[in-house]
Structure formats: C-alpha cells, structure tokens
Amino acid sequence: MNILVCISSVPDTTSPINFTDNNQSFDKNGITFIINPYDEFCLTKAIFIKEKQSATITVLNVGDNTNDSVLRKALAIGADNAVRINQKAENSEIVAKCIVEYCQDKNFDIIFCGRESIDYNGGKVPGFIAEKLNLPFINGCVGLDIKSAVMELKREIDNGHEVCESSFPAVIAGQKGLVEEKDLRIPSMRGIMSARTKSLEVIESAITLEKSIKIIHYEKPIQRSECKMINEDNVEELVDLLNNEAKVI
C-alpha cells in the first residue's frame, strides 16, 4: 500500500490570532505551528494500516521551509519519508495544483487529507485534488477498513452516517474517528532520532495561477457584550430574558 498524507502547518489551537499591516496580514509573531489536527488523525490511521499490512507513508506539505518542523514531527511519529514542495502556498488552489502535479506519477493507493485546515477552514484542497485526479472523494471520513480490493468507509453526514465502498485509489478527507484521540502518537526519542536519518525532499515548484482568490482584509469578530449574571434561585429570569430580550425561545 502506497499512502500519501497531506499535512498543513497551522497555528497551535491556543495561539492568539492577531493581524498586522493594517489588518491585511496574519501576524505570525509568537505563534507555534503544529500539524493540522485533522491531518494527525490521518497520519495515525496510515501508521495503523502500515502496522497491519505493509505500507509506505509519504507526508507532503506545500509551503516554505518554516514548515519543515511539522514534516520532521510527522517523520518522528512514523511517516517513512517527507516531501515539501517549495511554494508560497498563498491559497488552496495553488496548494492543490502542486499536490496534483506531484501525485501524477506516484501511484498512491490512498491520498489522505484533513477535513479542513483549522486556520482558514477552507476544506477545499482535498476536493480539488479528487476532482483533478478523477478519484472518488470521501469527505468527513470517520472510519476506514481495507478489504483486499476495496475499502469500506464511514463518513459523517449532517444528520447521521454514511457507509460507502470505494476502489483504490481514493482521496479521503479524515477527522477524529478514523482513529481515536488516545491512539495519537507522541514522538518517542527513538522516533525523533530515526527521523533525522529519513529523507525530507524539497521540490522546487514553478506553478502559478492565472486567477486567484486573495485575502483583502482580516478582522476580529465583535466581542459579546458583558455577560448578564442570573441568580441560581431565579431561573425564571433567564427564561424571561431568552424570550423577551434574546427572542430565541
């Protein structure tokens, strides 16, 4: 089994989100970057597959060299090799184009992506790749079972679950459920040491877009007004406020 896991590097979930440049740039100052949490579930699932039957796991990022640390971490967790396509990665369209080009001659059986990046929440890259490579797309995947020639997948839908069957190769956009939280691996000392000897290939990219989507402005949502405290012996007041003030019940 030849598995690709696409990894995006995102601000740690506790990072303060600030903007500079007259609210036109995201302020990276003081931010720790981590493997996008959804991608980590996918990577762990790939490792499970490898442990059960043999597999080669490649992790891929499109970005500049500040992303090498998340790729190194993915290697320490258990990926076999890492590739970074050197690009400014300004939007999902260009990222997807780079990944598609990379995949053309690699014969991956499974292309894993996270359901969305927790920074821009676009959820675009996996669908873009699936369509361009003309592959089945399983979004919001919460379960994967390999059955020789096909795989059985479970995905979350708005009011329930869907079970589907796909041939190889396919693009899977995963989330928690593929593996559980407790299954996530913390890199061991041995993992970190062996990651140093694994390859991190850097591919230069000359891909450009004719037309793109640009960010023109960032802003923080308006803060909620002061919280109104209600005495626990007077819950009727809350019911009244929800009815007459908030008008939600």
């Binding site: 979930t13 506790t14 989100i17 949490p37 959804y38 999902s92 920074d119 821009y120 929440n121 959820g123 675009k124 890259v125 996996p126 669908g127 873009f128 699936a130 369509e131 361009k132 797309f137 399983i138 979004n139 708005d158 009011n159 329930g160 869907e162 079970v163 589907c164 796909s166 041939s167 396919a170 989330q175 459920g177 939280e181 407790k182 037309k211 793109s212 989507i213 640009k214 960010i215 023109i216 402005h217 960032y218 802003e219 923080k220 949502p221 909620r224 007004s225 919280c227 405290m229 209600i230 626990e232 819950v235 009727e236 809350l238 019911v239 929800l242 009815n243 908030a246 939600v248 019940i249």
Partner: protein
C-alpha cells in the same frame, strides 16, 4: 448568464438552509440583473421553492441526495451550471455542500469562496466576508475569477419572505454510469437524536462537569423541551460518554445556532472555537472563574444538578 443555487433536501424535504441559499442567490441576481435558477435533486415537492426568487426550478427527479455520491451530484450540477452559463453559484456549507463545492469548482475551473457569513460586498469582482480561524477571525476574500461558487455558513444569513410569484418548474432525469462506479453508497443511518446538530436553532451542550454519562437525562429533557440538538465537549466524547457526532469545537463540529446552552463546560479556547459563532450563549457552571462566562451572554453560577432541573421546571411553566 445566470445566478444558480444548489438546494439541498433531506429525503426529498427542504431544510431551513435551503431557503437561506435562495435568499442569498436572489439578492445577487437582483443586484446584477441576471436570471436566478435553483436546482435540486429528488425533491418531493419542488414547487414549494416557488416564491423565493428563482424564476426557474430544476429538479433532477430520478436522483436523490441520499443515494447519489457527492462525486456524481457534483458532476451533474456542473453540467447544469455550464448549460445555464452561471456566474454566481450558491450552495450551503453543510457537509454535502462542503463536499460538492470543491469538486464543482475544480471541474468548472472557477473560484470557490467557502464559509461566507454575509452577502457579497461587491459582486464584480466578488468580495465576501467569511468565517476563518475557527471563528476567531473574519476574513474577506476577493476573487479574480469571473465565475465563482460561494458556500454559505448555515444559519448566518437569514431568509426572505415568500411571495406569490410563480416559477417555471422542470422535472428532468439525468443518467449516471453506475456500472463503472468507483464509489458506492452502501447505507445511510440517521442519527438517533431527533434534531440534527447542523440544523439545530438551539443546542444544549454539556461537559465533564456532569461527571457521568448516566447524568445526561436532564440534558436530553431540556433539549426535548426546546426542540434543540444536543452537543458535548471533546473529553466527553473521547471518554465515550456521548457519540463523536456530538463533539463540538476546534476539532469537532463548528456550529452557530441562535442559542447555545453550555452546562458544566469550562470554556477552553478549543471548545469556544466551535461555538463562538452562536448568536446567544448561556453558561451554567459551578465555578465563578470558569472562562466560559467571558464568552457568554447570560450566566448562572451554580450546580448543574440543581440549576438544570429548575430551568426545566421554569420552561415547562413558560410553555404552558
């Protein structure tokens, strides 16, 4: 040229988000003076979309949302979009919408702006404000493409009133090549909860403060009373107290109901990331220092096991 909306339904019945999408498309079509077309699949009653601004309603009557793969829904939608030369394509950011939108965008070679929370600021070039950074920021995008898909965050736009304008309703069939299908839907299971979390206008959520999965009876009772969906914090679903589908937050579902009631949840930044978009937040927590109070509209400091039964009683009285 046209504006085209893809209208989702569940088992043939339209949802609240269906009408939100129509409202959004209608406004753009008025502004740019182009025809507004709505397409849907397997609707029981496509005529019920009349009066919401679309002059033409196309129902692909032989295919259903539930039994057609997203790959195929996207393929057929792409054909219809091309036939109608649509420049603005509107879809709801439900799971189906989120899945179809990038497939369509790639197929049609057009722009995709996802998570829109407002009407476009300008239609040409298209600029739209969207949710970003898990609700910690808003991001305004401008597209250089002439043709764009906008996926809108459910429950963030609102609706327009129905009028009595008639539309042309077309029921057509589209063939898909099932024999060579690489992907096949085996079955679909509806979640047990009566209200889908994604559609719920009111959500009752509880955290580790409830101490035991057996204590969820009062949460469900409160949800029943308010016709609400139920949610939980991440540790609660990690411990298997509640199903994963109820997990909200940075790594779970992001929701933006009109009312979110958080019971025994501390309000960690990762939890807030999924619920901050809620229009009103009520927090019930025993600890006056719980961070969630800083992100709430209304708060009660107290023991959930005392406060929630009182709230249930007060609501029952109110409903009578």
């Amino acid at each position: 040229m046209s504006v085209l909306a893809i209208i989702e339904n569940w088992e043939g019945e339209f949802k609240k988000t269906s009408f939100e999408v129509l409202h959004y498309g209608k406004k753009i079509s008025n502004e740019i003076g182009k025809e507004f077309i709505a397409i849907t699949f397997g609707a029981n009653n496509p005529e019920s979309l009349e009066g919401y601004g679309a002059s033409k309603i196309i129902n692909i009557s032989n295919l259903k949302f539930e039994t057609t793969t997203n790959n195929n829904l996207a393929k057929i939608s792409a054909e219809l979009i091309s036939e109608n030369a649509s420049s603005h394509i509107i879809i709801s950011n439900t799971i189906t919408g989120k899945t179809i939108a990038p497939l369509l965008s790639s197929n049609l070679n057009c722009g995709l702006i996802s998570n829109a929370i407002e009407h476009p600021q300008t239609n040409n070039p298209l600029t739209v404000k969207c949710k970003g950074f898990s609700s910690k920021a808003h991001v305004t995008y401008a597209s250089e493409n002439e043709k764009n898909i906008i996926s809108i965050l459910p429950n963030s736009i609102g609706f327009s009133e129905k009028n009595d304008k008639k539309s042309e309703v077309l029921n057509i069939d589209k063939q898909i090549d099932i024999a060579n299908e690489k992907l096949r839907i085996v079955q679909r299971e509806k979640a047990k909860g009566k209200i889908s979390l994604a559609d719920a206008e009111i959500v009752i959520s509880a955290g580790r403060g409830l101490k035991d999965p057996d204590n969820w009876g009062m949460v469900e009772e409160l949800a029943d009373l308010l016709n609400a969906g139920t949610a939980c914090s991440k540790p609660v679903s990690d411990m298997g107290w509640r199903p994963h589908s109820e997990h909200v937050g940075q790594t779970g579902l992001a929701i933006n109901p009109d009312l979110y009631i958080a019971i025994g949840i501390s309000g960690a930044i990762q939890h807030l990331a999924g619920v901050n978009g809620s229009k009103n937040i009520v927090v019930i927590n025993i600890d006056p220092e719980a961070p969630f109070f800083k992100a709430a509209n209304y708060g009660i400091i107290g023991d959930a096991f005392v406060v929630v039964p009182k709230l249930i009683a007060a609501l029952k009285k109110f409903k009578n």
